[in-house]
Symmetry: C2
Subunit: 301 residues, 2 copies
């Protein structure tokens, strides 16, 4: 079937969580056939029963060998493991391979080692939900959201074109950039925020050991600042461990910013403190104005 | 008039912003008469036209001299200034005086110097909204939310009882504690989070100078973690400068927590990192479960 330039005879989605399930739903009318690959029997049953996919299997080889488009919708390390094992030899030549892992350098490096003929493109859709699992799948999850595409040594012009067409079929906004740049950007806007949230909750929990009122009085400010700390630890561990250098760089930059504010605070330099906080406030308001809309679905990529 | 034990003949609300306007609305059926004091003519007009209050004035003395209950609903420093100037001499003996400032030690100290006969109690309702100003007033703003009451040297048993009754009339949850304890708690759950949010936005803004993709790709995680940075700078400056010591203490505690996570990250000690992040996640989920409900109004006290 061809829709808006994206043609797909047989789509294989590897990993039927929230992201994979939502991809299958979004591409339901575009792909002639969809096969879902997942190791969990209950997840496979659900995907089949709800007609999110046409076929299911727990066998990676069987799942991808007939596909002309394969999407790896698993956690970063699982994607890396699949790429480094034998998935390259399971796929037919000219298959478009896209992943949706949250860090891109390791994955794109592994993709670059795939057999010539596999059209591999790194991907990272900037969307998500509080809830996870296939039950939370939503065919509109990608609509209007940025979908980063990172070239690999296996990205031919044709592969790139098909990847762009797929992102458009999802009604997402394709943004192309090198994997290294992507990883630095997400370190700033996603991985650093997660670590700050976790360290804040750890600090408050320490206070809470001696004074329960800390928990009782915590309100909306704490709610927002602590939400990321509730993220899946395994997933975040994978992400952080595959982006250590960029995260460490951003942490160092953050420390400097915080130390400056602290110095003004402690020395009661109220005017300079206000002068430092004002452009920060303006930057936040400007961002919310330009980009902050249309994302009320509690995204946490 | 008497309702649920709270009797008020003449209520004066000093400061007709979101908090003061909402207090007036919430106590509309409880107080026989409400006078609003505000320096802004448009605010006074609005409060009168919408019948949020019965009378308005910009004269503090005239506004409070006939009241038997006075609520100071202004920013922390404005409250401090009023207390240190002559408001004590404007009020009649036996008047209940409550403030709603976000830090309590300075204010309660100043309240303790008021003339004997003024029944002064420090207050801090843990509620709020994204939007500010009297136009955002909401008679249900305090319902079900914690309302901290801090004793002063001018809190008699009768004054304490009337303050508790007022909080109950607001259908808020009274929580009594010493001002020092209050300030330490809010340093942890409110002031530290604000500084982290501001320093995060400053860090991202620095990245954004060289790569606009930072702003473009920022999603829900950044949105939540940056929201507090958009707070009113003057208000936050007032709050921070009246709670320097507790905030500096919490900053030092936070730095230790962050440094521990960073050390594990950089040394690729994935297991210890996961071990450290897991209880943090559980603490956040437990808090959300116990207290996180009923506060979907974007509070930022």
């Amino acid at each position: 079937m061809t829709t808006g330039g994206f043609s797909c005879r047989h789509l294989a989605v590897v990993g039927l969580g929230l992201m994979g399930g939502s991809l299958a739903l979004a591409l339901r009318g575009v792909a002639d056939t969809i096969t879902g690959v997942d190791s969990d029997p209950a997840t496979r049953d659900y995907a089949l029963k709800r007609q999110i996919v046409d076929h299911v299997t727990d066998d990676l080889r069987a799942g991808v060998s007939e596909a002309d488009v394969v999407i790896l919708a698993a956690p970063v390390r699982a994607i890396n493991a699949m790429l480094k094992l034998r998935i390259g030899s399971y796929m037919r030549s000219n298959t478009l391979l896209i992943d949706i892992g949250s860090t891109k350098q390791d994955i794109c490096r592994a993709m670059s080692e795939l057999p010539i003929g596999i059209l591999a493109v790194g991907g990272h859709p900037m969307t998500g939900k509080e809830s996870s699992g296939i039950e939370a799948s939503d065919g509109d999850l990608y609509v209007g959201r940025p979908f980063v595409l990172c070239p690999t040594r296996r990205t031919t012009p044709a592969g790139r074109g098909r990847a762009l067409a797929m992102v458009e079929a999802l009604r997402a906004v394709p943004i192309e950039m090198e994997a290294e740049r992507h990883d630095r950007v997400v370190a700033a806007i996603s991985h650093l925020p997660y670590l700050l949230s976790a360290a804040l909750v750890a600090t408050v929990a320490r206070e809470g050991q001696s004074d329960d009122a800390v928990w009782q009085l915590a309100a909306g400010g704490f709610r927002d600042m602590s939400r990321l700390a509730g993220s899946d630890v395994k997933m975040m561990g994978d992400i952080l461990s595959t982006n250590t250098q960029a995260v460490a760089t951003l942490l160092a930059m953050f420390r400097m910013q915080l130390a400056q504010l602290e110095a003004m605070l402690i020395s009661h330099d109220d005017q300079h403190l206000a002068d430092a906080l004002l452009p920060t406030r303006e930057a936040r308001l400007k961002w919310a104005d330009r980009y902050g809309n249309g994302m009320n679905n509690g995204k946490q990529s």
